[in-house]
Subunit: 349 residues, 2 copies
């Protein structure tokens, strides 16, 4: 059907003029659809709206998108019906989501924070990164909103944190496959907050990355670097998500943690973090990220000479020896299939 | 529990230092929660995350908010599980929602547009504004994102549209209760697009309202005004929601319509719109707003003298005589109760 047919279908003399606005839109790339093939969407009621949104969305020629939107619309509508959502509540939600979007910037991702606070990030992460039982592979956890791609490339033993950011710490260990073989040339991205609980990106006028770095494992899978001992800190609580958590009676703290990402050829990229024994927020992480297998303990080394040898200005420092075990891409795919099968079995019971 | 107790709970020597970051946050107003009363949220899996988010959200002391968030989190998580949401899809959604928020401005509300396109606005509207059968009350429909509060106060017979914006139209009629009695001193807000399919707010550098106006009914409930005959137009399709509709294979057009809002003491505020017979988009409104009871027909008046008498520069003009029937606040509340009861009956069958 041509554009002309489309906008000039026979109508009574008094019908609205289908003119400039539609013509302009079609010229600017708006889709021209054969109207005769569309379902009738008039007189929508709470009982009929959902099936009709499905009907019009079923025009989508991407089967995955069609499936995802059918479930999305069903759950969205069921939610609104389940709670008899009022117009005022709907408007509150519109305004809230708008604020979440507007506070986002190059260095702040409030929608990830919202997803974190609602447990969606932890759910998506755990669905997509299951670890096969007995494999010994390191568990994944949430990425969080503070990863950046501009960390400096550093050498073994270098420090990711500038002087005065917090208490000294030294990490070393190996990156291995589940077969115990070293993963050489593995890229390790690592990032953390300083003692004020802030990532470098949260400071105005940030000029260079700090408290983050990028390393490569050597031929033995070995890595080593200096950092500061993480401390618990609040997620950004001056924005809409912080206000939401307050209204829910929740605190905004995360236990101390050190973010780590491992990227190596043939291996599934591992995004994880370490948590620390004795942290008061381990059990109530505001973003549901803690896994007990990721809780480590450090050793306090008071030997000043050893501290200086490693590059610190003085002792003491916290020491951690930690190996990480990566899944191959094939192992990760297989684990994901098995995990989904298990989940579907569990909900059918 | 004092702040000091809160952050100095007994931990081994190697535990993270709960220090400056937490202290700063508490000083800046972050909530101080008794950690001993919180559920243990470690080791979240697809099977356990939902109940645990409910557990922590149940701290909320607002029963309505607690209920709404329990349903919200359940549906959000069920959606993610139902579709086995991938990390890439999750990130696409995060980026999409961020774009929706970022394009919002004082004069553009893309989240309302998203709600409209997903049928949520029509659902919320129909749940909250049912019309009792046989009452003769005018049906409501979606507000849309283009209402502003700065329309000029106009007198009977004035035009809401400046010259050259479109074809002339004249509307008159009465605003009544379901008892047939006039609603005097009723505020009527009315707004529409011009022939280019744009509301005044969509033009850069808008200095004064156009194609919108505010009237009052007289003691007989009578109103009259000049306007332009609406034409079909696209919803804004240069943003993320327009792109979404394109990817779903949907068109972005709304049938021609004239927005109306009625505000009167003792009556339920009515937000509605008129649609026009013969419009090719009546059956496939991009935002699911059309109700057949709101479709009207106009009469083409070619009498030049009559046109000039009404204030037009020339003929012809479209003429519409249309009465509106408002529910009292009590009638509206009762209708809402009955509608919800009906809905719950229908889903239990």
């Amino acid at each position: 059907m041509s554009t002309a047919d489309h906008i000039n279908s026979s109508t009574p003399e008094t019908a609205p003029k289908v003119g400039r606005a539609v013509q302009l839109a079609l010229e600017q790339g708006a889709q021209n659809i054969d109207l005769s093939k569309l379902p009738n969407l008039t007189d929508m009621s709470p009982e009929t709206i959902t099936d009709n949104v499905h009907a019009i969305n079923s025009l989508c020629d991407n089967p995955r998108q069609k499936f995802v939107f059918e479930k999305l619309v069903s759950h969205l509508h069921d939610f609104a019906r389940d709670v008899s959502l009022t117009t005022d509540e709907w408007m509150t939600a519109i305004q809230f989501l708008t604020q979440v979007g507007q506070i986002c910037s190059k260095t702040r991702q409030e929608f990830i924070l919202l997803s974190d606070a609602l447990g969606l990030s932890a759910l998506v992460d755990s669905m997509n990164h299951p670890v096969p039982k007995g494999s010994g592979a390191t568990e994944a956890t949430v990425l969080g909103p503070f990863f950046t791609e501009d960390a400096a490339d550093l050498q073994h033993g270098d420090s990711i944190a500038s002087e005065g950011k917090g208490d000294y710490m030294y990490c070393e260990g190996r990156v291995l496959g589940t077969d115990g073989k070293p993963v050489a040339n593995c890229t390790i991205e690592t990032w953390e907050t300083d003692d004020d609980g802030l990532y470098d990106t949260q400071y105005e006028g940030r000029e260079a990355p700090d408290c983050r770095g990028r390393f490569k494992t050597d031929e033995n899978g070995y890595y080593s670097y200096r950092l500061i001992k993480p401390t618990p800190y609040p997620i950004p609580f001056d924005g809409p998500v912080g206000k939401l958590l307050k209204s829910l009676g929740r605190h905004v703290f995360r236990p101390a943690h050190l973010h780590m990402m491992f990227i190596a050829d043939g291996y599934e990229t591992l995004i994880t973090a370490l948590y620390f024994k004795g942290d008061p927020y381990l059990n109530s992480d505001a973003v549901f990220g803690v896994k007990t297998s990721l809780i480590v303990d450090t050793e306090l080394v008071t030997d000043d000479a050893r501290a200086r040898q490693l590059g610190f200005k003085h002792g003491p420092y916290s020491y951690l020896n930690k190996d990480y075990v990566l899944l191959t891409k094939d192992q990760a795919e297989e684990a994901k299939r098995a995990s989904l099968a298990n989940y579907y079995k569990s909900i059918q019971q």
